[in-house]
Structures are given as structure tokens and as C-alpha cells.
Point group: C2
Chain length 245, copies 2
DNA sequence: TTGTATTGGCGAACGCTGTTCGTGTCAAGT
DNA sequence: ACTTGACACGAACAGCGTTCGCCAATACAA
């Protein structure tokens, strides 16, 4: 039968893509783009497929399932984290810098932290970072057992805090307001809520409302981090006072 | 018109439930039961409704949406956590006991921690616990600002650790094996994985495999907790050495 | 006692999700 | 030139949270 010529407006749809435009990397980078632009909830197999001009079934030739896709996206994000070479004299500072860089990256990619929390770290970049942390601490004289535990706990803390932050970021995005006025409004509401509590049942809370709502995200994170690092330093000092903090 | 008599086999369907068998409390306790028995993923509106012999739409007369239902279930769980009266001389021990009791309760109710992580704590029992923590620390001489930050960070840590544990528990439940053999197998696999890593890229990891896989859940949690408590003690000591640890 | 307003129960449906099956089609290997 | 194998992908399945609209039963007013 006579071929109906494609109407010109159809041409833009799949211009020069006869086949094999799909690949693992393309799917992963598309997923990351959606994640950054619209958040983790918007990152569905259908959404990725749509972005690539195809159906969801096509993705399964390159990716086992959604969990694997998320793991790949997560590892890609972890790739942005910089791991320094160990300098024994600066081990505590180096560890701190590494962790801060991790939260910077997590912050840049909104709620990828939700994936990281649910992950046993065995992907290449997760291993690279764990190796870096462990090397820094052991070079600094931290006992290996303590350092091993510390790698685990630091990873958990970073992911958990980034996840909590991402919740607020999502609320802010959903609200449509800009960051400043959203934060001001939210903290105002929480403060008012605490102030309105019955003082007979919650005397300590109402007495310290200002302290409770004062801290911003960054200050809370760094407080927790320094808490852990001070604790670590005390363990290291106990084991052998060769290392300097 | 003449009422058609109910055929006898219909009688068992809703035996003595003419109306108003549903209530908020009943829905919440049913949700908690499903959560404990089958996990958070099984806790759907449809599943709760089915358990109560009705359809999902019926629940929305008592509960705004699923999020509210989960919040209510979460608060119910928090109600099991015991908060002691402050004894200034034992403030650090008391704080530790409170946190340990919280993880005991979270452990008993599998993956409710996922809900707690995603929650700004404003429910009654969350307030009760926050009040208790704050009162203990301030009675012990911790500066209010520091104590406020500590409440926040401890809550995050407890939820995050419980969530991580729940992941393993779910895997174990899905696998069908008993706890012991599952853990043995899993740790064996992880150990083998680390040992098989290329030693040129991950020298520190492969050198300390035994330390990395040695710790169980409980030890990891308590290590992180003591890390934070030691850090807190050092803050408290800086502010004013009136308090004793 | 009768009439009415309100509330809760609930079947059906909407739009979404991850995933699988079967079929089609193109490209490379023999 | 023909076969083979890998990938593309439309359609469908089962399940999700939520909403709509109707029905029945209760609570209250007259």
C-alpha cells in the first residue's frame, strides 16, 4: 500500500533515531536530570521513558528494575564527591572536609539521599569514598576497628541529614514560595506552635522555644558532625595519644 | 415494597455490625497490627479496609489521608517509649537509657522508623519525648542551645539507625530464612565481596575487612550513640564544669 | 410520631505506579 | 542470502491513593 508521507510536524519527534539510541548511561543521566529538576517522586520508569520518547518497557533491556536504576543514579551522584589524599597530621580536618563535601553534593541533588539511606554501599563510588575515609583515619592513628565503625556511622549521618533537608526542600518547592519567605514562615509557624503548648505539660519546651527554633539546617548539621568528631577524637586519644587532632 | 429476607449465607458477612463499627482508633490499631505483621509496604489503605471488612473509601471519613494515618500509627508507637523523671546527677545515663528504650520500641515495630524520619515532630508523644530529653539535659547543666540541638540530632540518629535496621529485617523476612543463618550468610557474602576487591584501588578496605564486617547492629548503634554523648559531654564541660557525667 | 438534615459507609472509577509478555524489527554473523 | 539474537515497545496486569456520588441510618426538630 502507498506509504502516507509523514507530516512535517511529526518529523521532530524522533528525527534520526532509527534504533539503539537507548543505553544504560543515557537512561541513568536522564534519570538524574529528572531527579534534579522534579525530585525523586517524579522519577518513575514512565517518566524516564517519556523523556526518551519511548515506553517504559524499553528501559528494562538496559536496567534490571527501578531499584537498579536508582542505585546507578546514586553512584553517579557519589562520583561528584572529592576524596583527598591522606595527610596524617590533618586527619580530623580532612575527614571533616570530606563529609562537608558530601553534604554539598547531596544538597545539590535534592532528595537522592533517600536512595542512599536504603543502600548497602557496594557501588564503585561508595567504595571509593569508604576507602578514602578509612585511609584518612588510619593514617591519623585511629584504631582500625574504631575507624571502621566511624565510616559506617558517618555515612548514615550524612544520608539521614540530607534526607531530612530534602523534605524541607520539597515542601518549599511544593509551596511555590521562594526559599527565604518559606523558611521564615515555616519557622514562625513552628515557633508559634511551641509557644502555644500547655506549659504545665511541656514546661521545658515552652521555656526554650527560641533555642529550639533558632538553628538553621547548616548549624544543626555541623553541630551533629562535631559531636561525632569530638567523640572520635576522644576514642583516638584513649587508644594511643600519638595522633594530633 | 416487601423486604426480601437476607439469605442465610449472607448473614456471616457483617454479623452484628449495623453501623459505626469504624473509628479512628480502630483504624489506627489495625494499621499498627498490619505494620507489625507484614511491614510498612503492606500497610495500604486497601489492606486496612480489607482487614476491617470494608472498602478503602470508608476510611476517609475518619482519617484525612494515608499520611495522617501513618502519623497516628507513629505516635501510637512513640507512646510506648518511657521517659524518666530528671535526676540531675545521672543526666548522661538517663539520656542514654531514654535513647536505648526508643530503639527498643522502634525495633519491636519493624519499619515504622521510615515514618519517623519523614516527620516534623509535633504529635503528642513526640513532644512528650522531646520535653523529657530537654528536661534531663537542662537539669544536668547542659546549655539550653546545646541541649536543643542535641534533641534534634538524637532523634534523627535514632530514626536513621532504626530505619537501616529495618531494611535488613525486611530482607531477612523476605528471604524466608531464620535470623541467625540469614545474618551469617549476609555477612559472609559482604566479607567475601570486600575481600575480592582489587587491592590496588582499595588497599585500606581489603586490609581491614575483618574490622569492617565484624560489628553487629547493636554494637554499631551504641558506638554512634556514645560518639555523640562523649561529644555532648565535652560541650557541657566547656560551658561550665558544674555538671558531672 | 413524623419529617428532615447530617453523617458515615461504600461501590465504582480515575490516574498513577512497577513490571511482564508477546510481537515486531533491525543489525550483525555465518 | 539467511538465520539468529538482541533490542524496541504497545498492551496489559495488579496494585496504589484518592474522589465522587449514592444509599442508609441516625439525630434532631416539630
Amino acid at each position: 500500500m502507498t506509504e502516507i508521507p509523514s507530516p512535517p510536524w511529526r518529523k521532530a519527534r524522533r528525527p534520526s533515531a532509527p534504533r539503539t539510541v537507548l543505553s544504560r548511561d543515557l537512561i541513568v543521566s536522564t534519570g538524574l536530570r529528572i531527579l534534579d529538576a522534579e525530585g525523586l517522586d517524579a522519577l518513575s520508569m514512565r517518566r524516564v521513558a517519556q523523556e526518551l520518547g519511548t515506553g517504559p518497557a524499553s528501559l528494562y533491556a538496559h536496567v534490571a528494575n527501578k531499584e537498579e536504576l536508582l542505585d546507578l543514579v546514586y553512584d553517579q551522584v557519589l562520583g561528584e564527591i572529592q576524596v583527598p589524599e591522606p595527610e596524617p597530621g590533618r586527619w580530623l580536618e580532612q575527614l571533616r572536609e570530606l563529609v562537608l563535601d558530601a553534604t554539598r553534593v547531596f544538597g545539590a541533588h535534592a532528595d537522592i539521599a533517600r536512595v542512599g539511606l536504603a543502600n548497602i554501599p557496594t557501588t564503585p563510588n561508595a567504595l571509593r569514598i569508604a576507602e578514602g575515609q578509612l585511609a584518612i583515619m588510619i593514617a591519623g592513628g585511629v584504631p582500625p576497628k574504631t575507624a571502621s565503625l566511624m565510616v559506617d556511622r558517618l555515612g548514615l549521618y550524612v544520608c539521614a541529614d540530607a534526607f531530612e533537608s530534602s523534605l524541607y526542600m520539597n515542601r518549599q518547592r511544593t509551596s511555590g514560595k521562594d526559599v527565604e519567605s518559606f523558611l521564615e514562615e515555616t519557622f514562625g509557624q513552628i515557633g508559634a506552635f511551641y509557644r502555644a503548648l500547655p506549659a504545665d505539660r511541656f514546661p521545658t519546651l515552652v521555656a526554650h522555644v527560641d533555642d529550639l527554633v533558632a538553628a538553621d539546617d547548616r548549624e544543626r548539621f555541623e553541630f551533629g558532625l562535631d559531636l561525632m568528631l569530638r567523640g572520635l577524637a576522644s576514642y583516638a586519644a584513649e587508644a594511643g595519644p600519638t595522633s594530633k587532632g
